[in-house]
Symmetry: C2
Subunit: 329 residues, 2 copies
């Protein structure tokens, strides 16, 4: 198996990305890793690479906030070159922590959409009281129609089954009320469509169910998904900041905090995206793993594991089967 | 000042509602409180009422999940009767922890909309690292057009100024990215409209800014607002549940938790809606204070305080002035 790693993308590129790839290379000696990026930068800090890791030069970088249009002029950017390796069957998957917009555009243009899917979606694993659950879309589609929400459900189901090994995953529709008629126009329409699929559709869930984890896959549009993920991240950080402040007020607090440190660390770890690593871009004909922009080595290592699982589990083929079964939905 | 309290609405009605009213009655001896509900139930547990508290009989109750349609047949329901007291100038404000839909419908039908407002909105005070901030709409409008988001901004501004005593409040638009072009179609259009108002519009904010508190009023549609509030509530509960579990694992955890109890209680208090009490329904010509369904006495007491502030601060008149100034926006 060969996995292309975009070493130029992300807040800690290229150092942490390369370190993560080297760690993954040790962990998976059967896997060949291709570091895509500027050879001079890679060589500068990593003069010796393990035998299952090699470089593939790409002279340009897509900035985090660069418009997707400029991708057309940057055909030697690391994300484009890495994705092209997959298209040309020189790699089985691509992993990147760079601009999600650029990664998605590269995948759409080079790998193409799976038939029956209007637009790709991005999923996230949300840490809940009942383990990690899938939420999608979390950012690819700020506007989504009802039938696209159904497509998200189908893609989420396949992801949950093939990669997360969930059996007959419970699919829920995120709404502002649990009753069938609740929601905005799109969600109300999507509810009716979902009822008529073969999916294990458990109906609407509310925001408070998201951290409770009473579902396996939660479906929403990319605007709502983005807000919900970022509010959760922000609230987690704010609570830990508040606790720190409270606990540092006096000796009693300091002593208590020291005693609780292992427990608090467990919770932080549970909420840490680095443990998940990355999630496949859903709906394109090739494995493209999206990592958080602030990924460090451990996140990249885990993302490479996810890429391996996707390739090994024949994720794309399974996705095509799932989408095909629901046909014209 | 006379405030009508719907004692039949809410999870803990009528006991906690009446207790809250009695507490408020003691705190504000200049205020006359009118307990609206079944006299037999009120008398059963509260045989003697203080001199500034009296009863006003209403034989029916609107259930929490009852459809708004049934309100037309329940003209003797406590929320309808209490709101009618405001319409008939027999009360200056109404406070309820009952069905928000019924409270809003009663206000719309009896008190009517403020000119220039298409639909009323519900606001919430969100506890942030920089104090409580206003978010609206949080549930009245699952579908909202761009011009309605502007109306929410205007109403939120008046609320922040008159009730929360904020000066020149910073108005932000919640989106999936801070850049001007980010958002779904409605949000992108609203951004352009907001730029052309007299408001102190600081542009888009993202989900993670919500708990950080880098704004004074955050505007979103009622679907997104509802999801964001409920995710926050759920995540707060989940984190405290996780901590409890971690801390009860061993003696070290138990001891640490005992030491940190005061600090943790401070944080819980900060996140407690009971401290806020309630928020006025925005956009109707009369003061109608919406309380959380699970309000206990302390929340009701605080909600009555909010009602007093609204009446005393000439909230409705100020709102009409704000809306009038922006004219045809």
């Amino acid at each position: 198996m060969r996995i292309a790693v975009d070493v130029m993308g992300g807040d800690y590129a290229p150092g942490e990305i390369i370190t993560g790839a080297i760690q993954a290379g040790k962990q998976f000696p059967d896997t060949e890793l291709i570091l895509v990026g500027r050879e001079d930068l890679i060589k500068k800090d990593f003069s010796q690479l393990p035998s299952n890791i090699r470089m593939h030069h790409a002279s340009e970088v897509m900035g985090m906030d660069e418009s997707v249009e400029s991708l057309r002029k940057k055909k030697d950017s690391s994300i484009w070159v890495a994705t092209k390796l997959v298209k040309d069957k020189e790699a089985d998957a691509v992993v990147s922590a760079g601009s999600t917009a650029a990664q998605m555009a590269s995948a759409l243009l080079l790998l193409k959409r799976i038939e029956g899917i209007d637009r790709p979606a991005i999923s996230a694993i949300y840490p809940t009281l009942q383990g990690g659950k899938v939420i999608l879309d979390v950012g690819a589609n700020a506007n989504a129609e009802a039938k696209q929400l159904v497509q998200f459900a189908l893609m989420g189901k396949t992801y949950a089954e093939v990669i997360l090994k969930m059996q007959n995953p419970r699919i829920a529709l995120l709404s502002n009320g649990s009753e069938e008629g609740k929601g905005n126009e799109t969600v109300v329409a999507a509810h009716q469509l979902l009822k008529n699929t073969q999916l294990n559709f458990i109906g609407n869930i509310e925001g408070r169910d998201i951290p409770a984890g009473t579902y396996d896959v939660a479906v929403c549009d990319g605007f709502v998904g983005n807000v919900l993920l970022k509010v959760s991240e922000g609230l987690g950080s704010a609570l830990f900041a508040l606790m720190k402040k409270e606990f540092e007020k006096d000796l009693r607090g300091k002593l208590g905090a020291a005693l609780l440190l292992p427990g608090l660390k467990n919770i932080k770890k549970m909420m840490d995206y680095a443990e998940t690593g990355g999630a496949p871009l859903l709906g394109v004909k090739g494995v493209s793993i999206i990592c958080h922009g602030s990924s460090k080595a451990r996140a990249i290592e885990n993302a490479i594991r996810v890429a391996r699982d996707c390739v090994g589990g024949r994720f794309i083929e399974q996705m095509e089967v799932s989408i095909g079964q629901e046909g014209g939905s």
